[in-house]
């Protein structure tokens, strides 16, 4: 019955089937709340009559999602903003820190990739700084910068810089000598060689580094916003946890995934645009 479908159509069908089955299992696994029967006075006084908090069923989450997404930008005070505003804050912080990191990492990566001396001189610092969890910088950032917003951006900056720096250096160092020789026999200066030969040759590797970085930045922003608070999707998750609104927690977890996927696919698109076959 599926013989005349393409591979993509069959895969899509299977995905939908898995989603439906998964949601049904989830819905069925939530135990029905016991109806409050006859309670002793003691039980009533200790809150036994209230429904026990549990994981909400998917139908509740979907209702919540519909409610939130139909009005994403409302703003009703510091602790009650629409999901669109919260995600907007997170994306703004991620992109600010990320592009500042790109401005540092890509030129520095070029330098390290082109010069053996620079590579050897920078390498010990990179190797020590790279494995540090970005959140470990948070106390120092808060103390030095004295601004929670800027500290979150700094944490994004510091975690995005490494994959971009290392991939740029690797891509630039790996440019085929033949292509560099083409530039040399055409008497291109250092800048024109960098922009017309080395940059396009290393672009796929550089974009791969940028793609890894944006993924890490999006992972880190949630944790950073849980710490600094105020606004953002990470703060939103934590705030809803404090409100014991599990429906909102699950909904925002899904939104984090969707936004992360969109950011990644934007870079996937860029990657395909600069790819070349040898």
């Amino acid at each position: 019955m599926f013989d005349n479908l393409t591979v993509n159509q069959r895969a899509a069908l299977l995905s939908v089937a898995m989603l439906v089955v998964g949601l049904l299992i989830w819905e069925a696994a939530i135990p029905a709340q016991k109806a409050a029967g006859e309670l002793t006075e003691y039980e009533r006084l200790t809150g036994g009559g209230a429904p026990k908090a549990g994981v909400p069923p998917p139908s509740d989450v979907l209702t919540k999602a519909w409610e939130q997404l139909s009005n994403p930008f409302y703003d009703a005070g510091p602790n009650d903003k629409g999901i669109g505003i919260q995600i907007g804050y997170s994306i703004y912080r991620v992109l600010t820190g990320y592009f500042m990191a790109a401005l540092v990492a890509i030129p520095l990566g070029f330098l390290i990739g082109m010069s053996q001396v620079a590579y050897k001189a920078f390498n010990p610092f990179i190797q020590v700084l790279r494995p540090i969890s970005p959140l470990a910088w948070m106390p120092l950032a808060l103390f030095v910068i004295q601004d929670s917003e800027a500290s979150a951006i700094f944490v994004i900056f510091i975690c995005s810089i490494w994959p971009m720096l290392i991939n740029t250096a690797f891509g630039v160092a790996g440019v085929r000598q033949d292509w560099v020789n083409v530039a040399r026999t055409h008497e291109l200066g250092a800048f024109r060689t960098a922009f017309t030969v080395i940059l396009p040759a290393a672009a796929p590797t550089i974009i791969t580094g940028m793609r890894i970085s944006i993924g890490i930045a999006w992972l880190v922003i949630v944790a950073a916003e849980m710490l600094v608070g105020g606004t953002g999707i990470g703060y939103y998750v934590w705030n809803e946890w404090n409100n014991l609104d599990l429906t909102s927690v699950i909904f925002s977890i899904l939104m984090i995934g969707v936004v992360g996927m969109l950011l990644d696919s934007a870079f996937g698109f860029l990657q395909r645009a600069v790819a070349y076959a040898e």
Binding site: D178, W179, N181, T185, H186, L188, A201
Partner: protein, 302 residues
Amino acid sequence: MSKPFLSIERLTQKFPDGQGGTLTVFENATFGIEKGEFVCILGHSGCGKSTIMNILAGLAEPTSGVVKMDGYEVSGPSLDRGVVFQNYSLLPWLSALKNVTFGVKAREPGWSKAKVEEHARQYLAMVGLEGDVVYRKPSQLSGGMRQRVSIARAFANHPKLLLLDEPFGALDALTRGTIQDELLKIWSGTGQTVFMITHDIDEAILLADRILLMTNGPFARVAESVEITIPRPRSRTEIVEHPNYYAIRNHLVQFLGQRSKELAGQKSDSTELRPDTVRIDHTDAEAVENPETSPRLRAVNE
């Protein structure tokens, strides 16, 4: 003593041999090339042909010796010396056309975009690349087409000296034949000075005015300069009928098969470093010569 257009004087290249000593690839290589001449160099691998080519291109520095072009010493790469590499060296992210305009833009920074493109298209057409094919990326072109693009890029720049490093080495015999013909056609139209490395004796006879023969390395040297006494225009089917063809071919085969080994490592006498000139001509009935006994004219360049 009139200097040739390109003069290679006492070129020596030594490399570390990996055991603390040095390996002399070639020593005191000395020869000249006249303007408009097509010169091929033949020799076994390891005699340093590619190193000589890289030195002429300015991509490598010799241990000692000088290369002079038009009376000026050559140092570093220059647009005056165009190179066609064996592996084409096209930039894979650019189309065939853009690969050629890349070179033209570097040569003529003042030209308008339209003029650069028209010039590039003209040279691509000379090597038989026209129409939609010029918009393809190198990965979408066959090996032969890629090398055509590379040749077009080099000729479009009108270098004073064109260096071809085994340009047809990676191509099959039939494609090689077609592109050799195209190379001859484009060369005869421009009067370009060409220096070419090849492993193919027939290719060298078809294309060259003169063939330089190198002895085996280490301590290789340019031992002979064989004139190709077959009139132009040449075609591959007609030159094999020419009385000089097999005489020259036999001489080259003998050299590469035997004498390149015998002469290997011998230091040339220090007074005369230029290669012996060998001229084999059977067309003049009175002067029928056996190549082995023919008188060697020396130092025709001086």
